[in-house]
């Protein structure tokens, strides 16, 4: 029997939710925002097609945009937290304007800055990331509140024309830390080798 995806109060459990979403990733390329989303994705099992942020807060989604534009034939999934997404809020407009049919973003909204001690984040107040994404012009936006919404969310993340943004309301609280590599050049090398974009020596620039 698979463990339940929600707690007794019906709130989604992030670690299990991410595991469930990634179980259907096929060959998707995954970028993770710093903090708990990085650990959640690592907990689902490392692959060469993951790139994990450990800093540069606010840049996960727009990094996904760059990757999606460079690799139009592959699905790119960004998994990040509400605090990280909020720091890159302007990039929602950049992403919508650039257009990226193969890009999807999953925001794990726990209404707190989990990594820094569970302080309430801006989504604990009136801010609503799904509404901001709609306002920015993101074409497909979904709220995922309970297990009943999950099939629709997973469908949107992997098959709806992008850019897609799904906000999953998840329970507060920290899971066990599962730490992937934080070695930047190593991660780049493994990732690029896996998708065939590593090239040495580079073609020189000439005027």
């Amino acid at each position: 029997m698979t463990p339940p995806l929600s707690n007794a109060g019906g709130e989604l459990l992030r670690r299990r939710l991410v595991g469930r979403v990634l179980a259907e990733r096929a060959d998707a390329l995954v970028i993770t925002g710093l903090g708990a989303p990085t650990y959640d994705v690592a907990a689902a099992g490392e692959t060469a097609r993951n790139f994990h942020f450990w800093g540069a807060m606010g840049l996960a989604a727009v990094t996904g945009l760059g990757l999606a534009l460079a690799r139009p034939g592959e699905r790119v999934l960004v998994i990040t937290g509400d605090g990280e997404m909020m720091m890159g809020a302007g990039s929602l407009a950049t992403i919508a304007n650039a257009g990226a049919p193969n890009l999807a973003i999953l925001v794990l909204d726990n209404r707190s800055f989990g990594e820094t001690g569970e302080q309430p984040s801006l989504t604990a107040g009136p801010a609503d990331i799904a509404a901001m994404a709609r306002g920015a012009g993101i074409s497909t936006v979904r709220d995922c509140r309970t297990e009943a919404d999950l099939a629709d969310t997973i469908g949107a993340l992997y098959t709806a024309p992008g850019p897609v943004l799904c906000v999953a309301q998840v329970a507060r609280g920290e899971d066990q830390k599962v730490l992937p590599s934080w070695d930047g050049p190593h991660q780049v090398s493994v990732f690029q080798t896996a998708i065939g974009t590593r090239s040495f020596p580079y073609k020189p620039i000439t005027l």
């Binding site: 970028i31 790139f51 800093g55 540069a56 807060m57 606010g58 840049l59 996960a60 989604a61 727009v62 990094t63 996904g64 945009l65 760059g66 990757l67 999606a68 534009l69 460079a70 690799r71 890159g88 302007g90 990039s91 407009a93 950049t94 304007n97 650039a98 930047g184 050049p185 991660q187 780049v188 990732f191 690029q192 998708i195 065939g196 974009t197 090239s199 020596p201 580079y202 073609k203 020189p204 620039i205 000439t206 005027l207």
Partner: protein
């Protein structure tokens, strides 16, 4: 007469396989951005803030594409923590910066970041190539691009304000 520096830089984009240009525009970038917009082989991505450039360029690089960020000097101040990404991953981050707040600047609000631009970039490990006249910009760009793409460095070409001219504020 020398041709406009934008043409030299644009030629380097084409010969160097730089196919994506990210920007928050500046008046001094108008000619270069027009050349890029008119070229079907180059995609111009408008950013809401310059720091997004570090993420966008990094994502493109992961996917095998070369890109450049074009911005005015005030925009470099928006990039500080974002520059951690190319630094820690040792991936290319190529920037071209049109300077404000230098000789002849009329808007005092441009001066603090204009003057702080180079030291701030250098503090984050960016190698800066200054171009003091029109004919210098192309070679400065070539050096910056080479160091970025061949050695995975963050580099910036700073196009001096006197090349671009000063913006007049007429009441």
């Amino acid at each position: 007469m020398d041709q406009h520096w934008s043409r030299d830089v644009f030629r380097a984009f084409k010969s160097g396989n730089i196919r994506t240009v990210a920007t928050v525009p500046d008046g001094g970038l108008t000619e270069l951005l027009n050349l890029c917009e008119a070229d079907s082989g180059i995609t111009v991505i408008t950013l809401s803030s310059e720091q997004e450039g570090m993420g966008l360029l990094f994502g493109l690089w992961l996917g095998g594409e070369r890109a450049v960020l074009l911005m005015q000097s005030s925009g470099t101040g928006n990039c500080m923590n974002a520059l951690s990404l190319p630094a820690i991953t040792q991936t290319p981050c190529l920037m071209l910066v049109t300077m404000r707040g230098e000789n002849g600047e009329q808007n005092p609000w441009q001066v603090p970041m204009g003057q702080g631009c180079r030291p701030a970039l250098e503090a984050m490990g960016v190698t800066c190539f200054s171009a003091a006249d029109n004919a210098d910009v192309g070679t400065a760009f070539e050096s910056a691009a080479q160091l970025a793409f061949e050695d995975g460095k963050s580099t910036a070409v700073l196009v001096h304000q006197h090349i671009i001219g000063t913006k007049e504020f007429v009441k």
